[in-house]
C-alpha cells in the first residue's frame, strides 16, 4: 500500500515535470521567435515630408529615387505612385505611356495598372497630405486607389 502511494506520487511528479519542461521549452521558442521581430526600425520613416507643393511644377512628374516614389502634379491635384515593381521589387521607369520595369519587362499604364508582363498587381498609390506647415506628406503605410488626388 505504501509502495503504491510512493509510486503514484513519483509518477505524478514525473508527469508534472515533463509537462512543465515541455511548456517552458514551447514558451522559450515562442519568445525567441517574437524576439526576431524588431520593435524599432532604424530605417527611413514610412511617413515623410517631400517638400512644398511649389517645388512640383504644374503638370510635372518628379522621381524621388531615395523614396522610390513618383510624384505627379496633375490637373486634378497631387498624387504619389510607388516606383517599386510589385513583381520583384525593381525600380520602374516612367515612360511615355506609363511605367516600365527593367527587370522582367512588366509594363504599367499611367495609373500604374498592369498592361503586360508578370507583375501580379498594380503599382502602389500612397496617400499624400498637406502638413500644417504647408508641406506635402507621403505615408507609405496608407495605400489609396488611383482616383486619389490632393487639391492644394
Amino acid at each position: 500500500m505504501t509502495e503504491d502511494r510512493i509510486d503514484l506520487k513519483r509518477r505524478r511528479i514525473f508527469a508534472v515535470g515533463c509537462f512543465g519542461t515541455g511548456a517552458a521549452t514551447a514558451g522559450f521558442l515562442a519568445a525567441t521567435f517574437r524576439f526576431l521581430v524588431p520593435n524599432v526600425l532604424y530605417e527611413p520613416s514610412r511617413r515623410f515630408d517631400i517638400g512644398s507643393p511649389a517645388e512640383f511644377p504644374y503638370g510635372s512628374v518628379t522621381f524621388l529615387p531615395d523614396r522610390r516614389l513618383y510624384v505627379f502634379n496633375s490637373a486634378d491635384g497631387f498624387y504619389a505612385v510607388s516606383s517599386e515593381c510589385p513583381h520583384l521589387g525593381c525600380n520602374v521607369r516612367h515612360a511615355a505611356s506609363g511605367f516600365e520595369c527593367p527587370c522582367h519587362g512588366s509594363r504599367f499604364d499611367e495609373n500604374g495598372g498592369v498592361v503586360q508582363g508578370p507583375a501580379p498587381r498594380p503599382l502602389a498609390w500612397y496617400a499624400v497630405s498637406l502638413s500644417p506647415r504647408q508641406q506635402l506628406i507621403v505615408d507609405l503605410d496608407q495605400t489609396v486607389g488611383p482616383e486619389f488626388r490632393l487639391r492644394v
Binding site: E43, D66, L88, N91
Partner: protein, 420 residues
C-alpha cells in the same frame, strides 16, 4: 643501462608519440584495422571497404568533394571574418580592403567565392549520382531526406553570403530573392519582413544575413553533415552490396561468413543492418588504410589545387556599392535561382511558390514512394528506366532554365544571344 642516450631519447619520444596516436604507423593488417577504429577522426571510415566502391566511377567522389569544399569554405570564411565588418557602408569598404590592401586577401576571397559556387554544383551533382545509381532506396531513405535538407542548406548558405559584399550585385540579387520568398501564401510578407529585419534591405538585413551565414547555418550544416556521414557509415557505402555474393543462410549459420563481430551485434542489442556493414565477402575488400585514405587525400589535393588555380586566375566579382535608388538592368538573383527567376518571369506564384514547393516535396517523399528494389547500386539500371527518365528530364529542364536565365536574358529580361 646498456642503452645509449640516443636510444633512450628515441624510446621516450616513441612513448610520447604513442600517447597521442596509440597505434603507430600501421604495418600489419591488425594495425591497419586498429588505426581506423582507434581514432575519432579516422573512425568515420570502416576498417575495410569493398574495392568496388573505391573505383572512381562508383560515386565520382562527389559527396567527398562536397565535404572538402565545406572545410575549405569554413577555413577561408573564418579568415575573411577577421577583416569583414557587417555594417553598411563599411561592409563594402572592407571588401575593397580585402581586394586591394590585405595581403592574399583577394586570393582568400576568390577561393571562398568560387568554392561556394562549386559546392552548389557538386552537391547537386551528388544528388543526381545518388538518384541515377538508385542509392536512396531502403535502408537509405532517410539519409536521402537529410541530403535534400543539406542541398537546401547549401543554397541558403550561398544566398546569405551573397549579400555580404554589399555591392550592387549583392543588393539587387537579394532584393529579387527575398521578393520571390514574399510570394509564399499567407506568411510571405511576414517572412520577408523577418528576413530583412524591416521593410527594406538595410543594416539590420546585413547583420541578420551575416549571423545566419557565419554561425547558424554552418552549425546546422555541421550537425546534418555528421548525421549524413554517420548513416553512410552505418548503412555501408552505397553500391557495395550489389557486388556481394549472396551469403547462404546455412553457411552463415555454420560460421563460414560470420554474421557480425561487433560487440553490440554479439550482445543482440542491434539488428544486423540490412545493407550490411558486416557479412560481406572478405575477398572483395581492402583495408581502408591505405587504399581509401590515399584516394581521399588525392581527391582533396586535386580539389585544393584546382581551387587555387581558379582563384589565382579568375576574380570574384565586386561591383559598385549598393545603391537602392538605381536598379541595374537586368537585376538578377544568384545564378542558382535564375531557373526560378525565369519561371517567375512568367508567373510569380508558379515560379516562386508552387514549383519550388513541389520540387522539395517530391524530393523528400521520393524514397518513400519509389520502393522497388530492382536496379539498386548501378548506374542507369534498365530496371529503373522510367524513374531515371523522369528525373533526367527534370534535371535537364532545371539546368536548361538556369542556363537561359543566366546567359540568354538581357536588359528588360528580353532574350539575348550570349555571343552578341
Amino acid at each position: 643501462m646498456s642503452q645509449t642516450l640516443g636510444q633512450r631519447t628515441a624510446s621516450w619520444l616513441n612513448a610520447v608519440g604513442r600517447s597521442v596516436w596509440r597505434i603507430g604507423w600501421p604495418v600489419t593488417d591488425k594495425d591497419r584495422a586498429a588505426v581506423m577504429i582507434s581514432s575519432i577522426f579516422l573512425h568515420i571510415h570502416p576498417a575495410r571497404v569493398s574495392r568496388h566502391v573505391l573505383r572512381p566511377s562508383a560515386t565520382l567522389a562527389l559527396g567527398l568533394i562536397s565535404g572538402i569544399l565545406f572545410v575549405v569554405l569554413s577555413v577561408t570564411g573564418l579568415a575573411l571574418m577577421l577583416y569583414y565588418v557587417p555594417y553598411p557602408p563599411e561592409a563594402y569598404r572592407s571588401m575593397k580592403d580585402l581586394q586591394f590592401v590585405v595581403t592574399f586577401g583577394v586570393v582568400l576571397r576568390n577561393m571562398h567565392r568560387w568554392s561556394a559556387h562549386a559546392m552548389v554544383v557538386v552537391v547537386f551533382l551528388h544528388m543526381c549520382r545518388v538518384f541515377w545509381t538508385g542509392s536512396y532506396k531502403a535502408p537509405r531513405e532517410f539519409n536521402w531526406v537529410v541530403g535534400v535538407m543539406l542541398l537546401l542548406l547549401t543554397l541558403a548558405l550561398s544566398f546569405t553570403g551573397y549579400l555580404l559584399p554589399w555591392d550592387q550585385l549583392a543588393y539587387w540579387a537579394i532584393t529579387v530573392g527575398t521578393n520571390i520568398a514574399a510570394y509564399a501564401p499567407l506568411v510571405g510578407d511576414r517572412l520577408k519582413f523577418l528576413m530583412l529585419g524591416g521593410h527594406v534591405i538595410g543594416p539590420m538585413t546585413l547583420l541578420r544575413f551575416y549571423v545566419l551565414h557565419c554561425v547558424m547555418l554552418p552549425l546546422l550544416m555541421l550537425i546534418l553533415v555528421s548525421l549524413h556521414v554517420w548513416r553512410v557509415r552505418k548503412d555501408g557505402l552505397s553500391g557495395a552490396e550489389v557486388h556481394r555474393a549472396p551469403a547462404e543462410p546455412a553457411e552463415e549459420a555454420a560460421g563460414l561468413f560470420p554474421a557480425s563481430t561487433k560487440t553490440h551485434g554479439l550482445m543482440a542489442l542491434s539488428r544486423r543492418p540490412r545493407a550490411s556493414v558486416e557479412a560481406r565477402d572478405p575477398n572483395d575488400e581492402v583495408f581502408a588504410w591505405p587504399h581509401l585514405l590515399f584516394r581521399e587525400l588525392l581527391v582533396a589535393l586535386a580539389v585544393v589545387v584546382v581551387l587555387h588555380v581558379v582563384s589565382l586566375v579568375f576574380m570574384a566579382p565586386l561591383e559598385e556599392m549598393a545603391d537602392p535608388t538605381r536598379t541595374p538592368n537586368p537585376a538578377k538573383a544568384p545564378w542558382y535561382f535564375l531557373g526560378l527567376q525565369e519561371l517567375v518571369h512568367y508567373s510569380a506564384l508558379v515560379g516562386g511558390v508552387v514549383v519550388p514547393t513541389l520540387i522539395v516535396a517530391a524530393l523528400v517523399s521520393l524514397p518513400y514512394f519509389d520502393r522497388r528494389r530492382a536496379g539498386i547500386g548501378r548506374w542507369f539500371a534498365p530496371e529503373r528506366r522510367i524513374a531515371n527518365t523522369i528525373f533526367t528530364v527534370l534535371v535537364i529542364i532545371s539546368v536548361g532554365l538556369t542556363i537561359i536565365g543566366t546567359l540568354f536574358r538581357g536588359p528588360n529580361w528580353a532574350w539575348v544571344w550570349p555571343w552578341n
